[in-house]
Amino acid sequence: MNAAVVVFPGSNCDADTLHVLSNVAGMHARYAWHADTALDDVDLVVLPGGFSHGDYLRTGAMAARAPVMTAVRDHAARGRPVLGICNGFQILLEAGLLPGAMLLNDSTQFRCEWTHLRVESTQTPCTSAAGNGQVLRLPIAHAEGNYVIDPDGLDQLHDHDRVVFRYVSPDGKRSAHANPNGAIDDIAGICNAARNVVGMMPHPERASEAALGGEDGRAIWDSLLAAAGA
């Protein structure tokens, strides 16, 4: 499987993501530069975490208008998988590839800590090999992960099984305490109507090796590999 990790000025999880895609998931992964205009050679595009353009203006707003995003749109329009992690999710929102927006965390602070996610839908390339309702332990690291969407948009997500991950307690139950940022409906990740574009706030690339405290993130890479093989 060929993958591209897009580097925007200010991306800072690009190297971690490339490392995990290559050395843990065994993909053929390369970087793509924000000014690139073609991604024809890859099966998977990952928009990594970081502070693209310093998060100035709004998180992801400037990156969403980079030349490479035209290629990302084309890639998505062909039904190929796109995964946005943290800042990558924020960029997908700003690019209109996913609905909704991000607010400052309800704590008003940056939060770096482990969270638990429940897989709400296995009908995406990023979760196809996970169990429905499976609980994954993944870390977050963001100041703006407080997902919001208008009531109609939320209905759309619910009606079409497009909420991919929710923050839950370790036993898989929803609770206000388990939601680290105030996101509406405890939403941690969603997909588009065609189901091939997924955005998530937690960082699976930080939880893919036992030495770093957990391997639950592998569920995402295993799913992508399985979906590509299918």
Binding site: C13, F51, G54, E113, A141, A211
Partner: protein, 741 residues
Amino acid sequence: MTLTPTHEPPSDEVLREVALTRDEYHFATDLLDRPPNPVELGIIGGMWSEHCGYKHSRPLLGRLPSEAPHVLIGPGEENAGAVDIGHGLAIVMKVESHNHPSAVEPFQGAATGVGGILRDIFTMGARPIALLDSLRFGPLDDRRGRYLANGIVGGIGWYGNCMGVPTVGGEVQVSASYRGNPLVNAMCVGLLEHEQLTSAAASGAGNELILVGADTGRDGIHGATFASVDDPEASHRGVVQVGNPFMEKLLLEACLEVLQTTDAVLGLQDLGATGLTSSSVESAGRGGTGVVLHLEHVARRASGMTPYEVMLSESQERMLVVAARGRAHEVQRVFTKWGLHSDVIGQVTETGLLEVRDNGHAAATLPVTMLTDAPTYTYPVERPAYLDEVGSLDLDALPEPDDPTTAFLQLLASPNIASRRPIYRQYDHMVGANTVIAPGGDAALLRIKGTPMAVALSTDGNGRTTYLDPFVGGAAAIAESARNVSCTGARPLAFTNCLNFGSPEQPAAYYQLSRAIDGMAAAARALETPVISGNVSLYNESGGEAIWPTPVVGMLGVLDEAEWRCGMGFANDGDEIAVLGAGRPRLDGSEYLSIVHDRVAGQPEINLVDEVAVQRLVRELIAGRLLSSAHDCSDGGLAVALAESAFAGRCGVRASDLPMSGRLDQTLFGESQSRIVVSYPPLAGAAVAAAAATLSVPLTPVGTVGGNRLSIGPMDVSLARAEQVWSQGLELALAGQASPG
């Protein structure tokens, strides 16, 4: 080109602004054989400030051992020190203070402190892999104390998080001594291959000087001299710089890329204190050359800036690159790719002079060696009288607490002992995908990808101990940071340090500085850990009172096999718990004495032979895979150390038959150096005891791991309640709410 000596002798006010004494002005005039012009005066003042010139500390710093076979770059040679860690790799590291700016504008002051230390590391050609921050705050029950503390933590997080460099450790202590003069010491650690080490020397006449990064503005003028005078509160906001971590991230990537893709770069130097002045002078000093600067080529962010302002601006996120003659464009092409503006602003010369020109006019002409060799001062070292007053502690006059459990919970809730999570969860401590032991442990542990190794990092320093006995405090800062590193299993290798003291012109502060350095030197020799870099922050005073003398040590250790690592948390029900080490707990200078009895008194102690032995023992036990946990027994004594290991491992403690060491409060809460709390499976007990006996380290059985209570001596508290008090203590204090303790 000559300058006409038409300048009137400067007024006292002008000299104060550039932080020079009248004698130093005359000395400079003698060296030049003419009076300096106003631009030159500003340059001399900046270069001769304590911050750049180390004029009071340099004679003392030479006492620290700095040589060892694995030291690649020692203190003062480059922007940071470097050590060989094997596998062809080197670690570059340094700690630096940003105390004075943080006292005025805590968020930007702390943020730009992080920015500055990051540049010191990537200037060396290394990729920064970790940040640590040693912080000291005034009381948090005071609104301004909380404003400073929250602002400082916020600024550190903002800068480091955006840069994508994990903040993996540090410490925080709160004391009235730091009211109005908080301490912000930021440490950065970088990784590189030996051959990637890059010098900051400007060598080879005709080579070109490129200024890259942010435009030059009026911010931060006199930052270095500001850091070298008393009473930051009397100063103003204009001297504090404003950071742009996004610009710095671009600089980082562009600088590393340019080093990797061309050999046109001969030297890299960041612009820190005194900006263009020190960066050009220090580069020329290292190269044994001169430099000529053409200020009209310096991009400005404000109009009408004078040569004086351009030379002394401390605008952040700027670097000076020495490029081979005629190859500047190769370097600038990479900067342009990263969206960075750069200009050729000067050349290296053979003159040995700093020549500053503005549209062809000579603005300043000064010998480089005059600027790099600041006059130094030494004073007699006289033991101050206060030491006799605070040095004695009469235990008979100190009542034992009626209920030790109340005192225990009070300690757990205190901002000096309570969980640091409210702070470190605001820092991205995982980015980089190397963090094996995250903040909250004795030392942070980072794997080195592509090798089986890991590096351990810890910062330590105890102002109260150093106040009570500067020698012991200095030695303990080295010993404790090394002990924390040893508790992960790693072998301490080298250290960096930041010396935060009061005015060296005050006899008490000078004595503290001199003796603390002696103590550090003694411990560093005993533990065989050389100093490789450091920074001095003097004049830390507020309202006429010096802060507690606070040496901060950042220790690096190497663990050959990351898999051997040991954590601090109790792991298995039924494991035996013991204290390793000969240290005898004392209430002198303890957290308990300060928090429960509101007293700072007594005579702290350290025995370096015991210290070396206990650290060696714990490393051997960990390498032999005998231990389930190891944790330094420090602030709050044995009871707190047991509780911390219990919280980390979510296991209770059964230690009701605690062996007494003096009276009960001394046994529970007394502190000493050289003690480590370990746990191990019963089957390993004989091997652990044998190893301890071989190294003549006393082993004191304490109890066993298990249950969901902390039963320590006569105390018996549920783990959940104790943990709640401990986890909320600092969070509530930072929010201005009372603790439930």
